[in-house]
Each structure stands twice: as C-alpha cells, then as structure tokens.
C-alpha cells in the first residue's frame, strides 16, 4: 500500500481493539498521507470513533501500531503525542474563557508568551473580540470554531475531528464544511475526519475510507468509491444502489454477461469486481432512466420493463419505484428538468441504463436482490 512513506504519513498497521468479546477495530491497515483530508466514514458502532481515539491516545490498542512519520506512538500517553482532537460536542472547558481554552495546550507545554499565538488563532477562526467569553455564551458554530482554534494552535501533525459538525444545524453545517476545507488548505495539516454523514465525507475529503464492523470496506477518492463501489455494503451506505441478483453466464471479450430474472445483461469487465458465479448487477438510481416503451430505449442501453408502484416528488427530482417482471423493485431518480414525462402509480414504464454505468459485485449464492435501502440513520450512538 505505502512503499515510499513521506515523513509525516500516519500509518495504522494491523490495528486491533477488543472490548471484551467485542472487536471494535479488526486488524486495520491504513495509510493517511501527510497533508491530506481523510474521512473515515461509517455507521455508529463501526469502529471509526475507536480508531480515532486510538490515534489520539485515549484508547490503547489491543495490538498493532500507530506510526506517525515512522515512529510508533500507539503506546504514548495522549499528552505526549503531536496529535490534537476536535471532540464531538467540542468539550470546551466551561470554567475557562475562550482565550484560556485556546491557550490551554500552549500553557501545558510551557510555551510563553501565548498572547500573539492565541490572537492569531482566534482571528484565523474569525473569533476576534471573543477572548473573554465563556463557552456557554457562544453559539454552536462559535463553539465549533473555538474547538478548532484550541486544537490547531498546537500545530499538531495530525488533527482528529470526531463528528465535529454533528451538533450543528443543516445550514451551519454546510458553511462549516466549506470553512473546514478552507482552513485545511491554509494550514496544510493532515485532517482525519470521522463522520457518519456520507455527503459530508464526500464533499470535504480528498480520500474517503468506508468502515464497517471494524474493517475498511473500501477507500479512495470520493468519485471512485461512489461510481465503482467495491462491496454491496459500500454501494448502499454511500448513496443508494439497485442491486439485482444474477449469475455470470460468460463473457464476450470486454464485457461480462450476467443472467438475472431471465434476461441477459452485459457489464464492461473493467467495472466488475467479480467475473464468475453469483453476482450483483448494480445500477445507481440516478443512472436509471424511464421510457414509455421499449422502442424509445437507446440501442446501447439495457432495460427492464414494469409498472410504476410509487412516485415521490422531491423537488429537484422525482423518485420512482418500478416493479419489474419477477417482482424486482427498482428505484429511479429522475431529475425534474421539465423535459420528462411524469409517471403515476400503475403506469407501465421501461427502466433503462447504459452498461458503462453499471457495476458487478460478488454475491453469496443465498443472497437475493438488494434494492434501494431506506435511508435511515442508525439511532444508536457511538
């Protein structure tokens, strides 16, 4: 994975953390390049926060290494590590004012004078004039910026962000996403950002790792992960996917042929994670188009026809459910660009897609179609 290690890379090697019988982090290997904005994405309880806490030193790994620029810091106490954290809900010291909160790390390291640095950090966060306020007197967004200033002023080699935006409302969250990206560009410090919000991960990070049950399912640039997911979990955790259960029936040079629901489909072999046996044929809902009849389908496309069972108008798009022959229900997002006909429940329609937009995933033989999961956030907290 990493042959030429630049000086400041953060590498997690064979990292494992067990709590009793529960394995929170399972033999994790990951390299986070110096200066990158890395997002660790996963549902609650997937081990992402534990991973972050191991890097911060708040949790000791059961086994494995945390290498920072080649030095193993896994067993260093947190106050000895060149790593700082922006905590979920910030953990600002309520008995100290903004100035003292931000100066806390400098003072503990005996750095003096702190005035200039603190003021500089506060003005980087546009917090001038807030020095003497208490955390309780700040809005959520302001607290967030104080937490960021408090961590960044120490010029850590890695900044850890534990769901830093989850306490903010939607509008502020969008603004802080852009702000965080700007700050990361400005300071050039490695950001390791833990989140369960896939949109946040994709918009902010240059590399995203999707974590599930203590393991990394896939990591890469956001477009890569979204357009060509490696596993069914990723395909459905990051956005939605129509996953049609099928069996590989052969290949014709360049394409792999799949039989599903009595029909044959082709997928370019470059977009196949599996080339034999049971597979999922995957298509993103927004890559599905609807037509009234088969003869309107472009020649290079493949299709399934069926009946519209549900149409949900969502402003920018309309989300359709289409029951195809064999009982498969497909989800299609059609942009409300004004050029498309609107369908209602009961209408016959044909769903078609370009094979270049489809992808093939390995499947256990006993698994069936996995179509458009309901997008619900897990309720449990980490």
């Amino acid at each position: 994975m990493a042959r030429d290690v630049p000086a400041g890379d953060l590498r997690l090697v064979d990292l494992t953390k067990r709590f009793g019988a529960f394995t929170a982090v399972d033999d994790l290997n990951l390299t986070i390049g110096q200066g990158s904005f890395f997002a660790l994405l996963g549902a609650s309880g997937c081990g992402k926060t534990t991973t972050l806490r191991i890097v911060a030193g708040l949790e000791e790994p059961t086994s494995g290494q945390v290498l920072l620029g080649g030095r193993d810091i896994a067993r260093l106490r947190p106050h000895k590590r060149p790593v700082n954290t922006v905590f979920q809900s910030y953990a600002l010291f309520p008995h100290l004012d903004v100035f003292e909160n931000v100066a806390f790390g400098l003072r503990r390291r005996g750095i003096r004078p702190v005035d200039g640095q603190v003021r500089q950090a506060l003005s980087l966060m546009q917090l001038d004039g807030y020095e003497r306020r208490r955390p309780a007197q700040l809005s959520g967004g302001e607290q967030q910026r104080v937490a960021l200033a408090r961590a960044l002023i120490n010029q850590p080699q890695v900044l850890l962000l534990d769901e830093p935006l989850s306490a903010l409302d939607l509008k502020l969250r969008r603004r802080m996403q852009i702000e965080l990206k700007r700050i990361q560009n400005e300071v050039g410090i490695t950001f390791l950002h833990v989140t369960h919000d896939q949109e946040e991960a994709m918009t902010m990070a240059d590399t995203v790792a999707v974590m599930n049950a203590g393991r990394i399912e896939q990591f890469g640039a956001p477009t890569e992960i979204y357009e060509f997911p490696a596993t069914a979990f990723v395909a459905n955790f990051l956005g939605q996917s129509n996953l049609i259960a099928g069996v590989v029936s052969g290949d014709n040079g360049g394409d792999i042929l799949v039989t599903a629901h009595g029909a044959r489909f082709a997928v370019p072999s470059a977009r196949a994670r599996a080339d034999r046996g049971a597979v999922y044929l995957g298509v993103r809902p927004e890559k599905l188009h609807l037509a009234d009849s088969v003869d309107q389908v472009p020649t290079d496309s493949q299709y399934l026809d069926g009946t519209i069972t549900d149409a949900s108008y969502a402003g920018v798009s309309t989300q359709y459910l289409l029951r195809a022959g064999g009982g498969t229900e497909l989800s299609a997002f059609v942009a409300n660009s004004g050029t498309q006909r609107r369908y209602g429940p009961g209408d016959r329609a044909v769903a078609y897609w370009n094979p270049r937009h489809a992808f093939l995933l390995g499947r256990r033989a006993d698994e069936n179609d996995r179509i458009t999961p309901v997008l619900t956030e897990p309720v449990a907290t980490a």
């Binding site: 911060a56 030193g57 708040l58 106490r77 947190p78 106050h79 790593v83 700082n84 954290t85 905590f87 979920q88 809900s89 953990a91 600002l92 010291f93 309520p94 008995h95 806390f104 790390g105 503990r108 390291r109 408090r150 961590a151 120490n154």
Partner: protein, 301 residues
Amino acid sequence: MSAFAHLPSVSGQPPPVARPGRHRLLPYLLLLPGAAWLFLFFALPLVQLATASLYDPNDTLSTGYTMTWAFGNYPAALQAYWPQFGRSFLYAGSALVLALLMGYPLAYAIACKAGRWKNLLLVCVVAPMFTSFLVRTLAWKTILSDNGWVVGLLRDVHLLGPDGRLLATPVAVVLGLTYNFLPFLVLPLYANLERLDHRLLEASRDLYANAWQTFRRVTLPLSMPGLIAGTLLFFIPATGDYINAELLGTPNEYMIGNVIDSAFLVRLDYPQGAALSLLLMAATLAVVFGCLRRAGAEELL
C-alpha cells in the same frame, strides 16, 4: 400543553400549568402549614434568642429576665470564652483539612473509577450514619483507648511516647469530628464529580496536560461548587459540635458548644448562652459568605 389546550377534555380543564380562578389560592394553601411551622419554630425563635441575648446578665431564670438592651453581654461572653471559640474553629478547621484529604479521593474514586460498584460504595459512605451518632463516637473511645491496638502500634513505632495517649487529647477530638462529618463532605462532592464531563478530561490530556495538570486545571476547578457545598456541610456542624469534645476530650478540649450547653442547661445563664449562640451563628455565616464569595471569585478567574 399548547397542542391540547384547545381540545375539549372530559374535565373541561386545560392542564395544570397556569390555571385561573380557584387554583390561584391553592399554592398558598399547600404552603401555609409548613411555612407557618418554619416561621414559628425557626425564624421566631431566632428573634427570641436575639432578645434573650440582650437581657440583664444579672437576672436568673428563677427571678425572671428583664430587657435592658445589655449589648455588653457580647464582649463579655467573647472575653470569657474566646479560647473555646478559637478551639472550635481550630479543631473544625483541622478536621476539615483531614476530611478534604480523605474525602476528595473517596468521592473521586466513587464517581469516576467505581464503575458498576458505584451504588454499593455510595451506600458504604452513608452506612456508618445508620448507627447512632453518639454510639459511633463512643466507639472511638474504644479504638483510641490507652490499651487499644492503635495506641500500641503508635507507641511501638515511637510516634507516641511510652505513656503517650490519644484519648482525651485534641487529636482524638479532631479525629472524631473528621469521622462524624466526613459523609457530609463526600456526598455533595460526589454529586458534583459524578456529573463531570469525561470528555473534558480527555480534551485536557489531548492538549498536553499530564494527569496532575489535568486534575489541577480541569477537575479541581470544575468540582469547586461541590467542594464548597461539602466544605460548608462539614464545617458548620463541626464548629457547632460539642459531643466529640465531651466524649473524646477533656475540659481542656472544650469547644464553644460545650460552653453554650452548660450556659443554658447547667448555669442557666440564658443571656450569655444566647449571646454565644448568636456569635457562633455570625461567625458561621461569615465563613459561609466568605466561602461563597471565594467561589464566585474562582468562577470569574
């Protein structure tokens, strides 16, 4: 309630938040007996005590008292009994220091380290109070007795001379005070530390503070309210106590409570007893407000 307020309900009444009419009197009716009791038997007696402290000091209970506005009772009482006054604060203060040294680790351990044993340990803190105060104090007589193993051990390691003793010394009184009021210090402190946000401690460690600095800069200042509440709950009864001085000490260890007790019950010198009582009250209040102000200052810093 707003959502339901306009719906008809069987009783025809909206929920009981701000009700008009006959309910306007209800809180006063509920409060009247209790408030009257407190007024009659707590507030009024204080007035009577203040009155009694200004009676003619030459009168006695049998002759009856006359009001002569004898403000001289205060300096006279203070002059006669300042050593006992000083001792009260000295002993209670020493006991407080001991209690803080023991109580803070105890409260901290229960709040932060005990895990599922938390409730059991908490019961253990309160449990000694299940027995009678006096019986417990008398038990110290056995523990500290001249033939007991504590004194024996201290003699063996030469912390005490061959006929050194603990019972009937200030040490015994201070130990007794510490023991008797320790739970009052631990409980509020525990309640405070229990609510301590552990992420703040993690944040502190993340920001280069070692264990000691984290305690000094985060835990301790954040526990200040609990510490002050505990200090007051310990110090007020400890200064006013005279059971420990009586049972574990000698007249040389008598505190102001012993004097007040004898003024009212033995010498029947009500004016002096009342004056001393009020002086104790004033001194206690001064300590309380001093404490609270310091807490306020701590908050501002």
